[in-house]
């Protein structure tokens, strides 16, 4: 069991008050708050270990390199990757997906090929494919979702064919919190020899995720949604696929040698080993170390405990929200099909009216499209208000949220 009250002591920001009300932070699907352990490790890095990583012989650089490499190891273990060579550090989920698009898709997708995505995707899993299809001419196809925002698996399965080269989908919808059946989707994709890219931005922070068990080819996720600093994220890729891929960005760190041929008057380039081949330039060393600390923090709690705590909060909040007249919960009504995210609306108010009213009481939620406009179109919503939970949220906070909802609805 997870003790949110004990956990809250680690989060300095939760002591803040707004308009004389205690902060209730329900915008965790956008970003999580940071525990003092992560804040301290970032501070300690800059105070004691800061240097550029790799290829320097001095002690500080060796310390920084070791920490940065350990961070890759820790993350690899967290998702059960084979080893650190399969975990590329990037800026976040968006960059991870773009990396796959431009380092794999650009070279492997052709005119008659298809990339299959779903209509519940975040824009970051739509735009790179639409952009790339303009260059390569392949077709982007969209698997339908049902009226409650769940994936129409039968329709999806019918859309997978031998033309499908890549299936991209979110593990957990950032709007409805719907948890997709990754294994089922991956099985169908692999039967057709298509690769799979899973957007794990809303799953890796909240559930146990095991890449070997799920059998995914790529998994993208962000550090800042799982207690780590902003600007650090991860692309997991199966080693065999990553090895065959071209680099994404070019520069230092990602090369082994750049040698000038005086006859040809050209430079020949040999690439570095994994994962550095995909980490051009000076990386976000401190972000990586912060992510390592965040992963250690989550492992100590246990991801099964994180999942069950959020399940409890979601079920409780959904039950209590039904007490509020004029409040409508969007998406599935069954909390067990979801993961810590509740989209909702109040009759006669826009999502922004709701978010501003709650903000007045120190309750922070998100409003708008949440970067998933197509899903809002399918659900026939102009926008939605979204409450999302994490390890430090409590039932008492939900009680307060309900109290205010009743007042403003």
């Amino acid at each position: 069991m997870l003790d949110p009250y004990k956990i809250r002591e680690d989060f300095p920001i939760l002591k803040r008050r707004f308009n004389d009300y205690p902060l209730i932070y329900f915008d965790n699907a956008a970003t999580s708050q940071k525990p003092k352990q992560v804040i301290e490790v970032v501070k300690d890095f800059y105070e004691n270990h800061n240097a550029n990583v790799h290829r320097a012989v001095h002690t500080l650089s060796q310390e920084a390199s070791e920490l940065y490499e350990n961070a890759h190891e820790e993350v690899a273990k967290f998702i059960n990757a084979e080893d650190m060579e399969e975990t590329v550090f990037v800026r976040g989920t968006t960059e991870a997906i773009n990396l796959v698009a431009y380092a794999w898709g650009l070279y492997n997708l052709r005119k008659d090929d298809e990339v299959l995505i779903t209509l519940m995707e975040h824009h970051s899993n739509i735009v790179p494919w639409e952009n790339l299809s303009k260059i390569n001419g392949f077709k982007v196809r969209y698997a339908e979702v049902n009226n409650d925002g769940t994936l129409d698996y039968e329709a999806f399965e019918k859309m997978v064919s031998n033309k499908t080269k890549l299936v991209c989908f979110s593990h957990v919808s950032n709007v409805t919190g719907v948890v997709n059946d990754v294994k089922r989707i991956v099985k169908v994709a692999h039967e057709h020899e298509a690769l799979t890219l899973v957007d794990g931005a809303q799953s890796v922070p909240h559930l146990p995720v095991n890449v070997k068990d799920l059998d995914v080819d790529f998994l993208a996720f962000s550090g800042h949604k799982m207690l780590a600093p902003t600007g650090i994220g991860v692309l997991y890729g199966r080693r065999g696929i990553l090895e065959k891929m071209e680099p994404f960005h070019g520069g230092g760190e990602m090369i082994r040698e750049v040698s000038f041929d005086p006859v040809a008057k050209r430079c020949s380039i040999s690439l570095n080993s994994l994962p550095w081949k995909f980490e051009a330039g000076t990386p976000n060393v401190c972000g990586g170390i912060g992510l390592m600390e965040a992963v250690k923090y989550l492992k100590k709690i246990g991801m099964e405990n994180v999942e069950s705590h959020e399940e409890m909060l979601t079920a409780y909040a959904m039950r209590r929200m039904q007490e509020c007249k004029n409040v409508e919960i969007y998406g599935p009504k069954d909390a067990s099909a979801k993961c810590g995210i509740i989209p909702f609306g109040i009759n006669g108010s826009s999502s922004h009216d709701i978010a501003l009213a709650l903000d007045n009481y120190g309750i922070m939620i998100r409003s708008g499209f949440h970067c998933a406009q197509p899903l809002h179109q399918i659900l026939k919503l102009q926008s939605s208000a979204r409450a999302s939970f994490y390890i430090y949220n409590t039932r008492e906070e939900i009680d307060r949220f309900i109290e205010v909802l009743k007042e403003i609805a």
């Binding site: 826009s350 922004h352 501003l356 009213a357 903000d359 007045n360 809002h376 102009q382 926008s383 403003i408």
Partner: protein, 89 residues
């Protein structure tokens, strides 16, 4: 006419089909802003004395005691600034 920049910290366009503009007033001037706006705009509804549904001319908006306001269906930020200028003068 009031200089809007003296009172406004931030104006943000909302994300969603409803095109609204959210104004965050400067914290140290929010009480003055609220007082001035409540004096000039027509009150349609109030929730617990901290959320005010208001009209000013054809502009419909909500003002919050936290020092924020949401203006609906305006053409652009210039129209908003003109309204704010009148409200705050």
């Amino acid at each position: 006419m009031a200089n809007v920049e003296d009172y406004v910290a931030r104006i943000e366009e909302t994300c969603g089909e409803e095109k609204s503009l959210i104004v965050t007033f400067k914290y140290d001037r929010k009480d003055e802003v609220i007082r001035k706006i409540l004096k000039k705009a027509k009150m349609e509804k109030s929730v617990s004395g901290i959320i005010f549904e208001l009209m000013f001319g054809n502009a419909s908006f909500r003002l919050y005691s936290s020092g924020k306001a949401i203006f609906r269906n305006l053409k652009d930020k210039n129209e908003l600034k003109n309204i704010l200028s009148s409200l705050l003068s």
